[in-house]
């Protein structure tokens, strides 16, 4: 690797990414952010009841989802995973539709709260609210692929508070024992609602736990999109090669309150909150792209306009969709046909 590096090879090329790739990554981040911001507006306007945000996580999310093969791999994300879900195939319209709890929302038909991503057509596992449960589903999918000898990698993500749940331990241990093809991404934003890292994670280092399961652990700066991508790409390759799971801890920032029900000023210093802007992965990645000559003011403006139009359009279409029909409320408790599949 080192041998190949020359002063003239830009870092993304060295990682096997094209100029278009990194611009597309940047665009996904912009799109996720734009959708996210729109949700807050809609929440304030009383159109949606609740929003839980991915702002500050987009770099890590887009980068770690990037190596996944849609239609083949699987994802078990969490409630901040707007950017992951969008990268793996959900559309902005899907996301807005889910937030509006419309009847044909792909995640739940309006049954779940905003932020509960999922979609059978996209191989995205339906998410619940109890944190961390999805991690075992990811491991179960990976076990399925391993039992069947199929080339499938599963990615799952969660926060650093969630990393302490017992189920995560059981999941990682099992994945470690059988070297299952799964990638664990811990998006460490330093808070679990109000509880800071030092009261949450013994020792403060989630990736350090990987060694205790016999798996690779990697810490990356979630503001460094290419570093995140490299970690995810390697983890994906490792999984495919039968070399076992990887735990990636990405240090990200939570740029908003925990959710629209929270007010972080109660427990977070104003200066600390102010300083978060400097760690916004979108500005950081934008600056990097500009530095590598891949982005100029014009393209950036164009991309942002594009994304805005996409979100406008998505919102308009989503709002026009039908509300859930109360007559369907009793459906899908059990399968409607008892088919011997």
């Amino acid at each position: 690797m080192v041998a190949k590096e020359t002063a003239t090879t830009p870092p993304h090329v060295e990682l096997g990414l094209t100029d278009d790739d990194v611009r597309a990554m940047y665009r996904q981040m912009l799109l996720a952010r734009a959708v996210d911001e729109r949700m807050w507006l809609m929440q304030r306007a009383g159109k949606i009841a609740f929003i839980i945000s991915g702002q500050g996580h987009e770099g890590a999310q887009v980068a770690t989802a990037w190596p996944l093969r849609p239609g083949q791999d699987w994802m078990a994300p969490y409630y901040r995973s707007i950017a992951s879900a969008i990268t793996f195939g959900m559309s902005a319209e899907d996301i807005v539709t889910a937030h509006l709890a419309k009847g044909d929302d792909v995640s739940s038909g309006g049954r779940q709260m905003p932020g509960h991503y999922g979609g059978a057509p996209y191989n995205i596992v339906s998410l619940s609210s109890p944190v961390g449960t999805q991690v075992l589903h990811a491991v179960g999918i990976a076990m399925g692929a391993w039992v069947r000898g199929e080339d499938v990698v599963t990615l799952t993500s969660f926060g650093e508070g969630t990393a302490n749940q017992g189920e995560i331990h059981e999941a990682m241990n099992f994945a470690g024992v059988h070297r299952l093809p799964v990638v664990f991404v811990c998006e460490n934003n330093g808070y679990a609602i109000s509880v800071p890292l030092d009261q949450q994670v013994g020792g403060g280092n989630v990736a350090a736990r990987a060694a205790g399961y016999g798996m690779t652990g990697v810490t990356v700066d979630g503001g460094d999109v290419l570093a995140c991508y490299r970690a995810a790409r390697d983890a994906h390759a490792r999984a495919r090669a039968g070399d076992g799971p990887t735990l990636i801890e990405a240090h990200v920032v939570r740029m908003t309150s925990h959710s629209s029900d929270d007010d972080q000023r109660r427990y977070r210093d104003p200066a600390e909150v102010e300083a978060l802007k400097e760690r916004d992965p979108i500005s950081i990645f934008g600056d990097q792209l500009r530095g590598w000559g891949l982005l100029d003011e014009e393209v950036d403006t164009q991309l942002r306009a594009d994304v805005k139009a996409e979100v406008n359009d998505a919102s308009k279409r989503a709002e026009a969709r039908p509300d859930p029909d109360v007559a369907t409320a009793l459906r899908h408790v059990y399968a409607e046909e008892q088919h011997d599949a």
Binding site: S108, G110, M113, G161, S194, Q199, R266, D323
Partner: protein
Amino acid sequence: MPELNILEAVRLGMDEEMERDERVMVLGEDVGKKGGVFGATEGLFAKYGAKRVLDTPLTEAMIAGAAAGAAIYGLRPIAEMQFADFVYPAFNQIVSEISRMRYRSNGTFGLPMVIRMPYGGGVHGALYHSQSNEAYFTSTVGLKVVAPGTPADAKGLLKAAVRDPDPVMFFEHKKTYRLFKAEVPDGDTVVPIGKADVARPGTHLSIFCYGLMRTFALEAAETLAREDGIEAEVVDLRSLRPLDTEAILASVEKTSRALVVHEANRFGGFGAEVAALIAEEGFEHLDAPVTRLAGPEVPGVPFHHNLEDWFMISPAKIVDAARALAAY
């Protein structure tokens, strides 16, 4: 007597108990600096410090299990589950350990501890922030389970729970938190666990309820009296385990008709026990079948307000059920 809402009553109850007994501590997620996601512990962190009002990691088994250990050690912990929906990771500790510790040790280890949990729907919380999962605990021998429906009961039962030598599951219907204010007796007024409260006397039928349903049942009773001349007796069970079977049977003896109301789904819900009890021990007094009005048979409250409205019990649904029962 101050007028408080249920949230304030819970908070004041904890505050007074912590002041009274320095062995009392509070632990849970975000209970410290933030004061809890509903504000139930607001102010306690500043008053009692970071150890007695302890922000725990996001780990419910640990919260319950460490509370049990602390109770063994001699403290009197009040553990908070952020939502009743998130108690399941702690289920092993609660069911295997906390409920059985005294019996299995032949009475040598008791666990004086409280687990507080906001439960119930109607707040746009969907499947995982709306559950009424009391039946898992009421069927567990060794636990006590209470579910107050008024500010006075919230404070008085909380005090009883903290002082109880055995583990108490304390269910707070989150929709009642700020629903109304009512007078709460000053000072050290303890409401004993195990006693129902006849919230409204009546003669034509009995409505058995708890938590938010008390408010709805009283509202329904007013409508029934006004529009139908039906005098419903509203019995707020308050304490689900132990259950005040005497009060229940006395009411059935008086009215001969029983309607059991709860928000949880019907099949295997807590109402089944109440109904079965009445059917078995009140058989001779019954002029109509014991009737249950409960949440629909779906795995949780769906989110969209259309669907949530469909799910929830309402005074109107109680009125309908009571009318049918009275007409039997």
